[in-house]
């Protein structure tokens, strides 16, 4: 199990492949926390700011951003190999492939047990009602999406108290099934629980958990990898699972849980569902100013169409939503009733979530004020085009980097021109600065670029 705590270590699942990165600005301009800079012609992710939302992964034109994952062979270290699958896994396959076929193929891959993550949402319904009495902050914000929890930690620390103190389904299900298997006589050390993830944020959540000491999940499998392997198996054995019943204990509301509005379906009071990280940021800004009338519950998801829009989902997100809606509509399984003998209230509640404020210029307010004044003075000169040619996403980000000692005024190409004109900077020096940011020979002719004469050769 992973025991690294948030104080000592931030794990990020998104990495830049230096040899593939072409040093464009696509990722930098979409990052919701301003975590990316370009240096030496490559994108660099600032670890303290990254929330693993995956916007950069979606924006990268050359697939230079990758999601780090566990080696699949790791499952073989355990006697009992559990695949914990979210309902979106099913949603991306064509409708004629039954869920039972997909689960049978998962068994073929080497898993001894396949459980649906959302089988334990019964616990969450009950815990939410309990939490509503305990936590008087409003709105209560769902803890479901780890990218949103991290966004609140770094950009909206004053709202941390609004995050609902209940673990997300992934943790509750992992604990539940581990306890069940132990009750069946299996040794704890022999049980390996592997979560099949639709996104990078869930990997980060397992590797460096927030609000719990360690994750009950042993490893994470990339859903793209699973999708490909399952399809390979089903091509060889098209009859797999055809006659079996749709397995599992997940009820209709569980199937829809990870989709937009899935969590607010059963909530009393005034509840809103917002998806897309930029939409979420915009709303949290309003909430922080108390510009909103009393709202009881917020379901916030980083991805457009929630988990159906996860970066590791192979299918189209709208078709995935359609299939899951159909599956839920024709589904008669009973919800798994919470058994408080197996998990108690403490097992499913989150510990304190700590702020990770990244916007501060300095811990010392006098120093922060001095830096702020210098930043505002710099903004009188920087052009405010937000072109990104300095390697920072906006002029304000550059001004901040300058006051923090990470960049110079001459990093700005427009400032360079003014300095060359007033003879305070030589043309050679200006080109050297550009080469430092964008890499040597970056301005040489290169016809292999996308859209150029030889783009595909």
């Amino acid at each position: 199990m992973h025991t690294k705590t948030e104080e000592t270590y931030f794990h990020h699942a998104l990495k830049v492949l230096d040899e593939v990165c072409i040093g464009c600005t696509h990722c930098m301009s979409v990052c919701p926390t301003g975590a990316i800079r370009i240096l030496d012609g490559r994108a660099q992710i600032k670890e303290g700011r990254c929330i693993d939302c995956g916007e950069c992964y979606k924006a990268c034109p050359v697939h230079a951003i990758i999601v780090e994952q566990d080696d699949f062979e790791e499952i073989l270290e355990y006697k009992v190999r559990v695949a914990l699958v979210p309902s979106v896994l099913i949603g991306q396959f064509p409708g004629k492939i039954p869920a039972s076929g997909i689960y049978s193929a998962t068994n073929e891959l080497g898993f001894t047990h396949v459980y649906e993550v959302e089988s334990t949402v019964g616990y969450i319904h009950s815990a939410y009602d309990n939490e509503k009495q305990k936590n008087k902050n409003r709105p209560l914000i769902s803890s479901f999406c780890p990218a949103v929890v991290r966004l609140i930690q770094v950009r909206f620390p004053s709202l941390i108290g609004n995050i609902i103190g209940v673990k997300p389904p992934i943790d509750i299900s992992a604990l539940y099934h581990r306890r069940q298997l132990q009750a069946e006589g299996y040794q704890d050390k022999d049980i390996g629980i592997f979560y099949v993830t639709p996104c990078a944020a869930k990997i980060a959540a397992v590797k460096s958990p927030v609000g719990e000491e360690r994750s009950p999940v042993d490893g994470v499998i990339n859903m793209k990898f699973m999708y490909n392997r399952i399809l390979q198996i089903l091509q060889k054995h098209p009859d797999l699972g055809q006659n079996a019943m749709d397995t599992g204990h997940v009820a209709a509301d569980g199937i829809l849980w990870c989709l937009t509005r899935g969590e607010i379906a059963g909530r009393n009071g005034r509840a809103l569902a917002i998806d897309g990280i930029h939409n979420v940021s915009e709303f949290l800004e309003k909430l922080e100013n108390e510009e909103t009338d009393r709202i009881d519950f917020l379901e916030l998801r980083a991805c457009d169409e929630s988990c159906a829009g996860g970066i590791l989902i192979s299918g189209n997100r709208f078709l995935t939503v359609e299939r899951l809606n159909k599956r839920a509509a024709g589904y008669r399984h009973q919800e798994l009733k919470p058994d408080w003998q197996i998990l108690n209230r403490e097992d499913i509640s989150l510990d304190t979530i700590r702020p990770r404020p990244m916007e501060r210029l300095d811990n010392d307010i006098s120093k922060a004020l001095a830096k702020m004044e210098r930043k505002r003075r710099l903004m009188c000169y920087l052009p405010a085009f937000d072109c990104g040619a300095c390697g920072a996403p906006t002029c304000q980000a550059l001004a901040e980097d300058i006051v923090q000692g990470h960049a110079q005024v001459s990093s700005c190409i427009f400032m360079q021109q003014m300095m060359v004109k007033t003879k305070t900077l030589s043309v050679e020096h200006a080109l050297a600065i550009t080469a430092k940011i964008w890499g040597e020979n970056r301005l040489d002719k290169d016809c292999s670029k996308s859209g150029a004469e030889d783009e595909n050769s």
Binding site: S158, N289, P355, L369
Partner: protein, 141 residues
């Protein structure tokens, strides 16, 4: 540090811009979240008051390492009885405005609740000046 915001009366769609801008700055200055929140909530109320009641206004914000002082100075109808205006629930809003959810009479009391000191002076027919002071908690985290 000094910040200045011009507020246009009746421009509800931009009400809150000064509060958002100050909030961003307070975060960068590492002010404790709850202290910052009180300041921003009080400022937002004051900003909305100018938009709702006055013709125009100017907000001056001065921040040093000890405290933040906000002066909201408007050209507007003014307040004839300040003591009455400070009472919770008192409002000059008519029933139709109240039906729309405005004019609950909580604006000024809420500003007072969220500041360490608040003074109001007003000349009826000319305008109102509200001065807010909050002391900054240095041990933010």
């Amino acid at each position: 540090m000094h910040l200045k915001y011009k507020i246009a009366g009746g421009d509800f769609s931009n009400a809150g811009n000064a509060a958002s801008s100050v909030k961003k700055i307070l975060k960068q200055l590492n002010i404790a979240p709850l202290t910052a929140k009180r300041i921003v909530v009080a400022l937002y109320e004051g900003e909305v008051n100018i938009v709702a009641h006055a013709w125009s206004g100017i907000i001056n914000v001065t921040i040093d390492s000890e405290r933040i002082a906000i002066v909201l100075d408007d050209a507007g109808p003014g307040i004839s009885d300040i003591e009455q205006a400070m009472q919770e629930g008192f409002s000059t809003a008519g029933p139709r405005v109240r039906e729309m959810g405005f004019g609950a009479g909580m604006g000024l009391p809420n500003m007072k609740k969220n500041t360490d000191s608040m003074t109001i002076s007003s000349v009826p027919g000319r305008g109102t000046k509200v001065e807010l002071v909050n002391y900054l908690d240095k041990n933010a985290y």
